[in-house]
């Protein structure tokens, strides 16, 4: 057995802000949506329209049934908040979880209010107008609230260590005067496939429904997926950095927070439930773009970052070497 120090599990930081932005805010939005809907109750037809097809409303339910999606929203929000609260050691992970929760709360509340407000004063819900504008408005509103919440999430405080890297961890031979860097691109085949499928499907749906404003959905999807298709991973005297070829987003581990790096084999679906920037068991975060070899960086504060990339052995060894050299 190698004498590896058991990582000290520091408590998850910034739990108050995660709770305010990722639980209190979305629950308030959902509850507020429900209260406003209740205040409209007497003006609404019974039943109300809850589902729309190509020729206007095609699904109806009682007033209570129309509120039911809020419960689904609540479950999703609580789930996302729980991730930030219990597994949010990493600032980026907290930001994603909190933004998801705040955005979903907004989305569910706005869709409910948008669809109901159009039915106020109607005698028959079948006369309800289309909902394309409501959906686009709700999506944009959710995006705006999600981004605002993400920006309010506190960043990780620097947590440098001066401890030497485990001597048994792999190294690259470097002379004292040599400077070294490692760089490589990695492509996400799953993202390419899902991008094509999702965008095609939503375009077909938009054309079939004739709901042109909803075209904003495939456009947003395409933009989101485009920035995550190809990444450049770099190891140098600043640490490890993975940056989308578009230039954003960037995942970074500063050199002075590296405890050790190693090579691991990753199966994204099994270990992280999918591809992309993911959270796995034990609060391990990963940029899992494909199955196979990956660099696993143990970072101060009990954080672990996994980045799938070819030639991970060299990347890990260089990271250990540079980290050690900076602390000599």
């Amino acid at each position: 057995m190698t004498a590896l120090a058991t990582p000290v599990r520091t408590p998850v930081p910034h739990r108050l802000s995660s709770t305010l932005l990722g639980l209190v805010l979305p629950v308030a939005l959902l509850a507020g949506g429900a209260l406003v809907a209740l205040s409209w109750r007497d003006e609404l037809p019974d039943p109300v329209a809850t589902h729309w097809g190509t020729d206007g409303p095609d699904g109806f339910s009682s007033f209570g049934g129309a509120l039911a999606p809020l419960l689904l929203g609540l479950v999703l929000c609580v789930g996302a908040w729980a991730m930030a609260f219990w597994a949010g050691r990493d600032g980026a992970m907290r930001r994603i979880a909190v933004a998801t929760s705040a955005g979903l709360g907004t989305l569910f509340a706005l869709i409910l209010l948008g669809t109901l407000s159009a039915q106020r004063g109607l005698a028959d819900a079948a006369q309800a107008p289309g909902v394309g504008g409501t959906i686009v408005g709700a999506l944009l509103g959710a995006l705006a609230v999600g981004i605002a919440a993400a920006l309010l999430v506190p960043r990780d405080a620097p947590l440098p260590t001066s401890a030497r890297v485990d001597p048994d961890a792999p190294r690259v031979p470097l002379s004292a005067t040599q400077r070294a860097a490692w760089s490589r691109t990695v492509t996400a085949p799953a993202a390419v496939v899902s991008a094509v499928v999702a965008i095609t499907a939503s375009v077909v749906l938009v054309v079939a429904l004739g709901a042109w404003p909803v075209l904003v959905v495939p456009v947003i999807l395409a933009a989101l997926l485009a920035v995550t298709l190809v990444w450049r991973v770099t190891v140098d005297d600043k640490g490890l950095q993975a940056r989308s070829l578009v230039g954003w987003p960037t995942v970074r581990v500063p050199l002075d927070e590296v405890e050790r790096a190693a090579v691991v084999d990753v199966r994204p679906l099994r270990e992280f439930g999918g591809w992309g920037y993911r959270l796995g068991r034990g609060g391990r975060s990963a940029l899992a773009l494909r199955a196979g070899q990956a660099v696993e960086v143990h970072r101060t504060g009990g954080r672990v970052l996994v980045v799938t990339v070819d030639d991970a052995a060299t990347a890990a060894a260089l990271l250990n070497t540079l980290a050690d050299r900076a602390r000599a």
Binding site: V172, L174, T177, R179, A180, D236, D237
Partner: protein, 120 residues
């Protein structure tokens, strides 16, 4: 790929950088179509001036190993099979070391051999 430069050596830094690309191609680590890091990124990583990296990339373009295009960056272009030389070059270096022949002399001998047997 791993990039190392040594400012303590006599060889200019841009030559060292270009040599790394050649060696990686010869070792089969880099292939036609592979993208080199943007000059700005590599310069920042190796803590050298961006013009040093650009000079290396330009030299590689001049010898036909790299395509430099605005917006696309530096990409390994179609090139002769450098990997075919990996084994003989390693053997030459081994032989020179075993015999105690200095690198400069070994290179001079190699150059001379090319001049003695010019391609027709």
């Amino acid at each position: 790929m791993l990039w190392t430069i040594d400012p303590a050596r006599d060889e200019p830094l841009f030559t060292q950088i270009a040599a790394q690309v050649r060696a990686a191609v010869s070792a089969g680590e880099l292939h036609t179509g592979d993208r080199l890091p943007p000059a700005r990124v590599l310069a920042s990583s190796l803590d050298v001036n961006v013009h040093t990296v650009l000079r290396a990339y330009q030299d590689l373009r001049d010898e036909g190993l790299v395509d430099l295009r605005r917006g696309r960056g530096a990409v390994i272009s179609a090139h002769p099979d450098y990997t075919a030389l990996a084994a003989p070059v390693a053997a030459l270096v081994d032989a020179a070391r075993t015999a105690g022949v200095s690198p400069a002399v070994a290179v001079a001998l190699l150059q001379n051999a090319f001049h003695q047997n010019p391609e027709d």
